[in-house]
């Protein structure tokens, strides 16, 4: 049927039109800016980091300590009993070697995200949930040498550079024993 048409109405497209983004593209930049009221629990946590202290919260009913601290125990739904300072040392619960960056660049030396169970926090519940874990990065270590169960310690920013942020801890590094 279309063989009977010699020419088609409309504007024909070339490969170049696609390549130059002339068709099928609408360029737009999202203007989305948010503040974050950190509240009682996370607010106390960030203020603690500024002082070089990692705070957890303790539930006397469940006898569990979680990091970061929060106002409610997610297991029993009672208010948390108290905030407790934890040591800045711990054990690698799990880790990964990440060869792609946040902004999607391939890298040869991997970043090493890890969940670190801090000393003094609860380890496992009956459902095998790690409660005392902090998600951070490892550094000053050969990626090939990182092991689950490895003992690590926080490396902090100098006090005058801390901002009350999770990045006040630069990374965790192995404890030499």
């Amino acid at each position: 049927m279309t063989s009977r048409f010699k020419s088609f109405p409309g504007t024909s497209l070339s490969e170049e039109d696609f390549a130059q983004g002339e068709v099928l593209f609408v360029h737009d930049a999202l203007k989305a800016e948010y503040a974050r009221d950190t509240g009682v629990g996370i607010g106390a946590y960030l203020a603690g980091l500024r002082r070089g202290v990692i705070l957890g919260s303790y539930c006397s009913h469940c006898r569990k300590t979680v990091v970061p601290p929060r106002v409610v125990c997610e297991w029993c739904f009672r208010p948390m009993s108290e905030y407790v300072p934890l040591r800045d040392t711990g054990v690698v619960n799990t880790f990964s070697l990440c060869y792609v960056t946040w902004d999607v660049q391939r890298i040869s030396q991997p970043e090493i995200p890890a969940v670190i169970v801090l000393d003094g926090a609860s380890t496992l519940s009956e459902t095998s949930v790690v409660m005392g874990g902090i998600l951070h990065k490892l550094s000053e270590v050969d990626p090939k040498a990182v092991r689950i169960g490895m003992r690590v310690r926080a490396v902090w920013k100098p006090p005058e550079e801390r901002q009350g942020a999770i990045t006040d801890i630069l990374y965790f590094k192995p404890i030499e024993e």
């Binding site: 737009d28 999202l30 974050r36 950190t38 009682v40 629990g41 607010g43 929060r70 409610v72 997610e74």
Partner: protein, 383 residues
Amino acid sequence: MNERVAIVGVGWAGFRPKTPDLSYKEMIYQAAVRAYHDAKVDPRTDVDSFVTVAEDFHEGTSIADEYTPDQLGAVMKPMQTITGDGLHGLATAVMLVRTGLCRIVVVEGHSKASNILTLDSITAYAQDPVLNRPLRLNTHMVAGLEMNRYLHESGTDEEACAAVVVKNRRNALRNPLTSFGADLTLDEVLAGPPLAWPLGVHQTARPVDGAVVMVLANEQVARSLTDRPIWIAGIGWCNDTPSLESRSWATLPYLEQAAHMAYRQAGIRTPFEEIDFAEIDDTYAYKELQSIEALGLCGFGEAGALLKEGVFDLDGAFPVNASGGSLGAGHLLDATGLHRALEAVLQLRGEAGAHQLEDVQVALVQSWRGVPTTSGAVAVLTN
């Protein structure tokens, strides 16, 4: 399957323009603790499923529902998020109970509007990206277009719209869960700066922070928990076309359909006679009048005159937004439908305090998801 569903507990937190003392999670927790105490249930052992309403762009977090279980007591429990208004969440919970899958279901909605620094830009992302957004028009223009055509076709005047603001903000003076109570004159409202003419700034509800949590239960459980269950006698919802090019501008046919759905379930034929009061959309003042008509409480073009006569006043024949509405309390974004349902529950229980209505048995609750949507949700509640 034909089981009745009741609201057996309500809780709230916030309802203020700024809540710097609490994170959104802590605000939800406050509301949840109140609701569970009110319902006499333990979320960890008694609740079968949880429904939250949230819009990722409002949260600033993708898949925001992943961040709600802990402060609701929903960890390791069935839960889901509805990207809709609070009444859509309520409807989902009703279905979960009526299928028999769940006996007790919790519904949650919240707003941390004060943390959204570019709310108008976020709202603009609800516009069609190819056809409308490139025109770079503030989304309030959709309300301006609708108000203009509504006034034009219905014969309603701007004074009637201003009278909605005067009524609702005056009602808010009696209600502690509000932020914008004021005793204004019509001239003061009309003299305000324009937003999207004929719509003025003073005729637009301002966003506030807050959280609402409700506990729903089937009839048997409800009767064992409380001697004052509030029944959800009917619930309906409907959407028109998203097209700004072809939608109805003067009337709200989608809201008429949503109301029919709710009225049919509740067995209501003459809403003005059978219902005692209403908490309905007043995101923009004209919307209250347009919604009153779409809900069948009067004919098209009649709401303005009835409002001026005082029919919808606190002491009128059919009080509308006795709570102060969104103009008086502030707009809770996705939680707005739950805010209105909360006010209706308090009235039906006789717990509304200084704005308590006398001898009320049947409430009408309605919500809209705001510009540029054509979404209507309606619930009929009884005590």
